[in-house]
């Protein structure tokens, strides 16, 4: 025991030391300042970047002073620079004293956009790598930092994951600014606040936090910010990283934050009082806090009428359950509880299983794993071929397996129904959770039949009820039951009946709609119009 623990401790120490080495050496204060001589500055930049060929230096003359203009090619909008600065630079050519030169440069020449004066080398790198342009003038230890962001980015296209039949077809892109703009366009309120921070020691990824002041819960906002500040990792490549680092509970398969590619979904979440985390470099925006029911709501629900969306939502929840317990129920019914199956069906299944060499559990397991492999393979194949191959593969392999006598047809039916039911869950994260739980329940069903399945389900229920997402119980509003919040759970109330916002997320500003919103024809006036519409 003690040898094991001391070995573990040694490994931990070594890892910590490695981490420290990766951190930058603490800098001496003098090194932080920009030097007066522009040539020295240039040399320093070149040195730090190792003469990277995409750092562009442009020397210019301003009056009698010389200076350089530095930017990173690819991150900046070169047209901007040549049109505005270089032109205006060449125009003014006056002879003034030291102080005014710089000021003149700052005021008159660089007449575009956000201007900052910086003195710090860290800021220099920050600025350069964000796509800004820096102007160094000889003899001054300040630099002018101008925003000139402009890089190639994907245009706004259709979302690839959450599709809606009747709804807007734009999706987020990889640029933070575009995404925040998409949200701003939909909420034209000054209360929509955006705070930014940079996370990731090496990647310095921009992260934006958007929420509606007055509707979002202040405590949750603070909590989110605290957790983000506490992230100490070298890079953030996608919103998934952020999710995993700030979620409430690590040891669970259920997602406690929601992510989406669609601006309308994120907008409606913000309007309910949630907080959106936009990560630069990925089109998936994270919203927190998240509750269980949310993962069964699709954007289509809100654009159609309430009766069809209620029906389809109930169908979705039903199919989630089928996906989770399907194979397990089949195994339990055919190996433990044969009395439950109607006689004719029992005989039919028995006839099919006569030729199968494996016990039900092995059969089910093999088929399920096969399906998972097919699904995974379908993702990797090029788009044109992928769909066809996965469907055909499933059918052919299933049919061939049946004819070879490896599996029984009933098993193929069960597995395919399960797989299809799995796909009808709108959220991918929840569907994955279902896939994993399915295997555990299958194992339990093999050992103890329905009792095992019930045990597994109870365990799942206890687990779900104990989860919290940023302080909010995960199973709201089912448990704790809150009658006022039932309007969007199983049944979707018509839009004109959803009077209040969900109380568990936002604390202030409850009312969403006004009174008397139920639509109807205008009240008939007497003696004016007959029912045929003739006056």
């Amino acid at each position: 025991m003690s040898i094991l623990s001391s070995m573990l401790k040694k490994k931990q120490k070594k890892r910590q030391n490695d981490n420290y080495r990766q951190k930058q050496d603490p800098q001496k204060p003098e090194d932080l300042l920009i030097l007066s001589d522009y040539k020295d500055n240039m040399a320093r930049i070149k040195g730090e970047f190792g003469n990277s060929t995409d750092i562009v230096f442009r020397e210019f003359k301003f009056g009698r002073k010389k200076g350089i203009c530095v930017n990173v090619d690819g991150l900046t909008n070169q047209e901007l620079i040549s049109e505005f600065f270089m032109e205006s630079l060449s125009v003014s050519d006056r002879d003034d004293n030291l102080q005014d030169s710089f000021q003149l440069l700052a005021d008159k020449v660089v007449n575009l956009g956000n201007i900052q004066l910086i003195t710090d080398w860290n800021q220099v790198y920050d600025a350069l790598l964000s796509g800004n342009t820096l102007f160094f003038l000889d003899g001054y230890n300040h630099a002018i930092n101008v925003e000139t962001k402009g890089w190639e980015q994907r245009s706004i296209t259709e979302p690839s994951t959450q599709l809606a039949i009747r709804g807007p077809k734009d999706a987020f892109t990889e640029t933070l600014r575009t995404n925040t703009a998409l949200i701003r366009r939909r909420i034209k309120s000054p209360n929509l606040w955006l705070e930014s921070m940079k996370i990731g020691k090496v990647s310095q990824t921009d992260i934006g936090i958007m929420y509606l002041k007055g509707i979002a819960n202040e405590k949750i906002v603070l909590e989110v910010k605290e957790r983000l500040k506490g992230i100490d990792i070298d890079s953030i490549q996608g919103s998934g990283y952020v999710e995993q680092l700030i979620e409430d509970q690590a040891w669970t398969t259920f997602p406690t934050t929601y992510h989406s590619e669609r601006p309308d979904v994120v907008t409606s979440h913000i309007l309910e009082g949630r907080i959106a985390l936009i990560v630069d470099g990925t089109p998936f925006v994270v919203t927190a806090p998240a509750i269980f029911i949310q993962f069964f709501q699709a954007p289509d629900d809100y654009y159609s009428r309430f009766d069809i969306s209620t029906g389809i939502r109930i169908l979705r929840i039903l199919s989630f359950f089928i996906a989770v317990i399907g194979p397990a129920v089949y195994i339990a019914a055919t190996t433990f509880h044969q009395e439950m199956i109607p006689t004719t069906m029992a005989i039919a299944i028995a006839a099919q299983r006569e030729n199968v060499p494996f016990p039900a559990f092995v059969e089910a397991l093999v088929m399920e794993i096969l399906f998972e492999i097919l699904r995974e393979a379908g993702l990797r194949l090029p788009r044109a071929v992928g769909q066809a191959v996965s469907i055909v593969g499933a059918l052919v392999i299933g049919q061939a397996a049946v004819q070879a006598g490896f599996v029984s047809p009933v098993m193929v039916i069960v597995v395919s129904i399960t797989a299809i039911a799995n796909f009808s869950t709108p959220s991918f994260a929840m569907a994955i959770a279902a896939r994993l739980i399915r295997f555990i329940l299958m194992g339990l069903a093999t050992v103890l039949g329905f009792y095992g399945i019930m045990l597994g389900l109870m365990f799942m229920a206890i687990h779900l009820c104990s989860l919290r997402s940023f302080g909010i119980p995960y199973m709201m509003p089912l448990a704790p039951f809150n009658p006022r919040n039932q309007q969007d759970v199983f049944v979707r109330f018509p839009v004109w009946a959803m009077k209040n916002r969900p109380t568990f997320i936002s604390k202030g500003n409850m009312v969403r709609t006004g009174e008397n919103q139920k639509p109807g024809p205008p009240k008939q006036e007497e003696n004016n119009q007959t029912s045929n519409g003739e006056s």
Partner: protein
């Protein structure tokens, strides 16, 4: 004591699930034959009466669980002893329920499986739930409340549509007079399940709204009592007195008779589903009360450390308390009510109430100058 708060509606649901838990499963009130349902109703009335005793005690000490205020009332050492006895009592009751549950499963569906396997798996789940705390337990209760009611209504409809109910089996009413009904009432139905509300004396301090205690608990008891009575009546009406007396698990036999449209039959598994949920809650509540009591009495910081040991005790005890089913039932019907249930549920709390009443009177008289 955990820093948890429960709403009145959650307490209500917990009471209902707890009371209904295993009451529907065994043959209750069988000695009153077709008047079993009358003795059920009497039991409900009696239980409500006793609950008032617990409620009064709660009102004197609204923030303390039973094991704390018993020390205040009966003195430190006597109180501690009583507290310990009650903890053992709760452990014993949860052991009995676990044994009942295991016996049912091994008798009907899983007869080759050893009892310890079934019991231990159930205990694993329950230990996990207790570990998470009372808030999680009530939330799970809310989730399953709907499921149970759905099951009950579906079952009820199926029984009606199978044409199984013969109301004439309930006649003649009071054939042997009130005597057997009363005897059954005193011996059985008042203490099980209604007298077991004594365990809620440990849980009432969690309620966040003191005024609603009465409504939540008594309302829950009434609802559960009505459900149990209806089930009893349906059992007799479907099976007839004689089969009702002979069945170990009358409700199971009733459900086994459902036969509809040629393919809905042998729904015993439905029954097992309901049973698992009901017993889960009953065992959890007793178990939790014991854990909280022990935490309180022995001054632990949090209850989670005790959940596993006490769970293990319950598991092992459930195997050892009786060597066969007949002994288990005999214990439950003859020995336990007289020597265990009556004192713990009725006699001791009433005595405590009287003492508390006098103490408070003294306090009032001494505090007014």
């Amino acid at each position: 004591m955990e820093k948890a708060k429960i709403k009145a509606s959650q307490m209500f649901i917990l009471v209902v699930l707890f009371e209904m838990g295993s009451a529907i499963l065994v043959g209750l009130g069988v000695s009153a034959k077709q008047d079993a349902w009358i003795s059920m109703l009497l039991g409900l009335a009696g239980g409500l009466l006793f609950f008032l005793v617990y409620y009064q005690l709660y009102k004197y000490y609204p923030t303390l669980p039973f094991t704390s205020y018993v020390q205040r009332i009966a003195g430190k050492w006597m109180g501690r002893l009583l507290g310990l006895l009650y903890i053992i009592y709760f452990i014993y009751l949860s052991t009995r329920v676990l044994r009942d549950f295991g016996e049912l499963l091994t008798t009907t569906i899983y007869f080759n499986t050893p009892l310890i396997v079934i019991n231990s798996l159930m205990m694993v789940i329950i230990i996990y739930a207790i570990h998470k705390g009372i808030e999680v337990i009530v939330r799970v209760g809310e989730l399953f409340f709907g499921v149970i009611y759905l099951l009950a209504i579906v079952g009820f409809l199926l029984i009606i549509f199978s044409g199984l109910i013969h109301p004439e089996f309930l006649l003649p009413v009071l054939e042997q007079g009130w005597r057997p009904v009363f005897i059954t009432f005193i011996r059985e139905t008042i203490i099980f399940p209604f007298g077991e509300m004594v365990v809620f004396t440990m849980l009432l301090p969690y309620l966040n709204d003191h005024k609603k205690v009465k409504f939540a608990c008594m309302g829950g008891m009434i609802l559960a009592g009505i459900n149990v009575t209806i089930t009893c009546a349906i059992n007799v009406a479907t099976l007839g007195v004689d089969l009702f007396e002979r069945s170990n698990f009358p409700l199971l036999t009733t459900i086994g008779k459902i036969q509809l449209a040629n393919f809905i039959e042998r729904l015993d598994v439905l029954f097992m589903l309901y049973l698992m949920i009901g017993c889960f809650f009953k065992i959890s509540v007793f178990f939790y009360a014991a854990v909280v009591g022990a935490t309180d009495l022995f001054q632990f910081k949090n209850h989670q450390k005790l959940s596993f040991p006490i769970g293990l005790i319950i598991l092992l005890a459930s195997i050892t308390i009786a060597s066969n089913y007949a002994e288990h039932i005999q214990e439950g019907l003859k020995v336990v009510p007289v020597y265990v249930q009556w004192p713990f549920q009725i006699i001791i709390p009433t005595l405590l109430l009287i003492i508390a009443f006098f103490r408070n009177r003294k306090k009032k008289t001494t505090s007014t100058p």
